[in-house]
């Protein structure tokens, strides 16, 4: 029986060096539904927050989990009717005894005593196992330290001094997603991931930079300039631009001004644009016929046909109306400023991108004013990616056959990913293929999107690690969490994220889901610029030494 003074001493096995903050004791629950933890101690009720990271000390195992729900309980079912008004004395007597708070804790991992490697939780601690707020050491043990393969991405809520690190080596093995509504910090997180992967040499990047914010410096919402990849990684990054004027206006010269030749466009590229351009199925079929007949320069030839030639074509079985409509649509393409009749000699933009990637340089493809032009964005991203994927596929297969070196992993970053990966077209676009076949050919995706519900379910299920900032739409929340273990509990956590600088991380590159306050990008950029970064952990002390 309790003596009326709630509170247990720190349990054995608490991490040394830091006093564990006790939250409560296990009073019930199940592995599927989570543990019921009665919160004890004074004032602790309001300190316990959804998403807080906790440890449960069983007899033989330690468990790690997160708080997924909180509730107020009372031993007396008629409590509300028996207490007519707020009586300070009764409140003091009853709080923690007859009326108390419970937290729902979802156990995620467990370690045996004396064993360092955490396993997924497959058993439960017994009743009355003490539950503590996780210490720095606990978090470090689970998420690793900032080193050659890990990147410090943020801190758990209310643990400002603790670092949650992502295992980048695991991350680049699969396609990943960064989700969140506009302004929630997607771009900052993406920038941190891209920079960290590049800096550690774990993969080469091809970034379709729709809003021109990754290559050169961009402006944050709060108004200060944030460094782009080019500024941090210097010559390791090449910026390609479809809109050199925009780049000049922003004060830099792109490494390569992209021109796309009409002869580089294949019927498959048009097929993907069919809904955007409003081309019928018959029109798409006509494209294949034209391509078979006239080869690579099929668009130029087709657009240059006179009335007789068109009539001749119609006489051979194509519908005149279809051909006329197709011609009008293809003219729209031709009018885009970066399109030109023939690819520049030496292979054009696609060749250049490929050469850069193969030589280990990261490529940022800036769209400038075409970022808002869906046709241009989808066309270019798809066209380039398809050829690069084919090349990687060829090289990987050759390497497998000869036992030679496979190409370095390539991470392709696409924004507004639902435009390529929506239910209807995911099966047609190269991005759908890459997402599904995963790392077989050393190419993976980093999907950045604010409407994950628009992405094909099958593609989404292949996303290894999901980094999710705030999402408002219920359907988006459901889509992101689909297939994730403990998704029902995570939903509560996700729907309560703050609108900025908070993210829920879960999936392949993390041992367990965790909510973090994301780190400051300026600090990150400063840290990146220090010599030796990424090879040895850089602590605050080192920074001080360098900068005084």
């Amino acid at each position: 029986m309790t003596n009326g003074f709630e509170g247990l001493g720190a349990p054995d096995g608490a991490s040394p060096g830091e006093a564990a903050v006790e939250l409560g004791v296990v009073v019930g629950g199940s592995l599927s539904q989570g543990l019921d933890v009665r919160l004890t101690g004074n004032g602790v009720v309001e300190d316990a927050k959804v998403g807080t990271f906790v440890t449960v000390h069983g007899t033989r195992h330690r468990y790690f989990g997160i708080i997924t729900d909180l509730s107020l309980e009372s031993a007396d079912g008629h409590l509300s009717s028996n207490i007519a008004h707020a009586d300070a004395a009764m409140a003091e007597v009853l709080s923690g005894t007859g009326a108390f708070a419970q937290a729902r804790v979802t156990p995620m991992l467990m370690t045996s005593v004396g064993e360092e490697e955490p396993q997924p939780a497959r058993s439960l601690p017994a009743h009355f196992a003490p539950v503590n707020r996780a210490t720095n050491e606990d978090v470090q043990m689970i998420f690793g330290e900032d080193d050659a393969t890990h990147i410090y991405i943020g801190s758990p809520l209310d643990m400002e001094d603790t670092r949650v690190c992502l295992d980048l080596q695991e991350l680049v093995k699969r396609s990943n997603g960064v989700f969140g509504k506009s302004g929630s910090g997607k771009s900052f997180l993406t920038r941190i991931l891209l920079t960290a992967i590049a800096q550690r040499g774990l993969a080469t990047h091809l970034i379709f930079d729709m809003h021109s914010e990754y290559g050169w410096q961009a402006t944050s919402e709060s108004g200060y300039a944030v460094k782009g990849l080019r500024q941090i990684l210097q010559s390791g990054v090449s910026v390609f631009s479809l809109d050199a004027e925009s780049a000049h206006r922003r004060g830099f010269t792109p490494d390569y001004e992209v021109k796309i030749g009409l002869d580089e466009i294949e019927p498959e590229d048009i097929a993907i644009l069919s809904s955007t351009l409003g081309i019928s199925d018959a029109g798409v079929n006509a494209c294949y016929t034209l391509h078979d007949r006239y080869g690579n320069r099929w668009i130029s030839v087709f657009l240059g046909m006179d009335a007789d030639a068109m009539a001749g074509l119609a006489a051979e079985g194509e519908h005149a109306g279809v051909l006329g409509a197709l011609r009008r649509k293809l003219r729209d393409l031709d009018r885009i400023a970066f399109m030109q009749p023939d690819a520049p000699s030496g292979g054009g933009a696609v060749r250049q991108v490929l050469d850069h990637l193969v030589s280990g340089k990261h490529v940022v493809m800036e769209f400038g004013r075409y970022g808002d032009d869906q046709t241009a964005y989808v066309l270019v991203a798809n066209l380039i990616t398809r050829r690069i994927h084919a090349e990687y596929r060829k090289r990987t297969e050759e390497a497998l056959a000869s036992g030679g070196k496979q190409p370095d992993p390539l991470v392709i970053t696409i924004e507004e990913a639902h435009r390529f990966l929506s239910g209807g077209i995911a099966s047609q676009t190269i991005f759908g293929t890459i997402a599904r076949e995963m790392r077989k050919y050393r190419v993976t995706l980093l999907v950045v999107d604010q409407r994950p519900s628009g992405i094909d379910e099958e593609v989404l299920s292949q996303v290894g690690t999901r980094i999710t900032c705030q999402l408002d739409n219920e359907r988006d929340v459901d889509a992101v969490l689909k297939g994730a273990p403990g998704s029902r509990e995570l939903k509560g956590v996700l729907s309560r994220l703050e609108s900025q600088q908070q993210a829920l991380l879960f999936g392949h590159a993390l041992r367990m889901p965790v909510v973090v306050r994301t780190r400051d990008y300026q600090d990150f950029a400063t840290e990146m610029a220090m010599p030796g970064y990424g090879r040895t952990p850089v602590g605050p002390g080192d920074k001080k030494d360098l900068f005084g």
């Binding site: 003596n3 009326g4 008629h78 028996n82 004395a89 007597v93 009853l94």
Partner: protein, 215 residues
């Protein structure tokens, strides 16, 4: 107050005994300890005064009214000195603990029922403040936490028993440096025992001076 004289604290003797309840007859009429007071029977059994009653010594002879012709109550007793011997004051003691005897020597005091009731005619003593401290866990060096297991024995009665419980807590609190902290801790123990019965907990708490400025 170690100097308290044992003889001065003795107030009666056990005339009816069971494991959970004793009836003691006071040596002097009307000189019973107050309701809720901690008392001890001999050196082995502790209890709380849960009832006080004064009646005729011979239950077959009912007391009659004698004050028709006198002005004050004291005059009645002065005119009839035999009354002191014909009346008796009985106390009911609810047993709340006992001292364990280890090989005849004194062991620790427990807040649960003894294995045997005390013998008839065992002397009853009011507990000194030192004894109260010892029993409830107040004072002492180093200062220990309140021992509140006895609450369970008292809370079981209900009805007037809640008044006894509240009275005993009020008395015990006086032995503590911080009486309010003791009362809050004790009330919380009561809340645990009476879990689910908020109205009873409320009734007990209202009998305790927990509110601001009452202690």
């Amino acid at each position: 107050m170690v100097s308290d004289n044992i003889a001065m604290t003795r107030f009666g003797e056990v005339v009816d005994a069971s494991v959970e309840q004793l009836v003691g007859q006071c040596h002097r009429l009307y000189e019973a300890p107050p309701l809720g007071a901690l008392v001890r029977a001999g050196t082995g059994v502790w209890g709380v005064v849960s009832g006080i009653a004064t009646s005729a010594l011979d239950p077959s002879r009912r007391v009659i009214a004698r004050g028709a012709d006198v002005a004050t109550e004291a005059e009645i007793y002065a005119a009839h000195p035999q009354l002191e011997k014909l009346l008796r004051t009985d106390v009911t003691v609810t047993v709340t603990g006992h001292r364990e005897s280890i090989g005849g020597a004194n062991g620790p005091v427990h807040q649960y029922l003894p294995s045997q009731p005390p013998r008839i005619h065992t002397f009853l003593y009011s507990c000194t403040s030192v004894e109260v401290c010892d029993f409830f866990g107040g004072g002492g060096q180093p200062r220990s936490e309140p021992r509140l297991d006895f609450v369970h024995l008292l809370a079981g009665f209900g009805g007037p028993g809640d008044d006894v419980l509240a009275a005993s807590l009020r008395q015990a609190a006086t032995a503590f440096d911080d009486p309010r902290a003791f009362l809050v801790a004790a009330s919380r123990a009561v809340a645990v025992v009476l879990s689910g019965d908020t109205s009873r907990i409320n009734a007990i708490v209202r009998r305790l001076p927990i509110g601001e400025g009452t202690l």
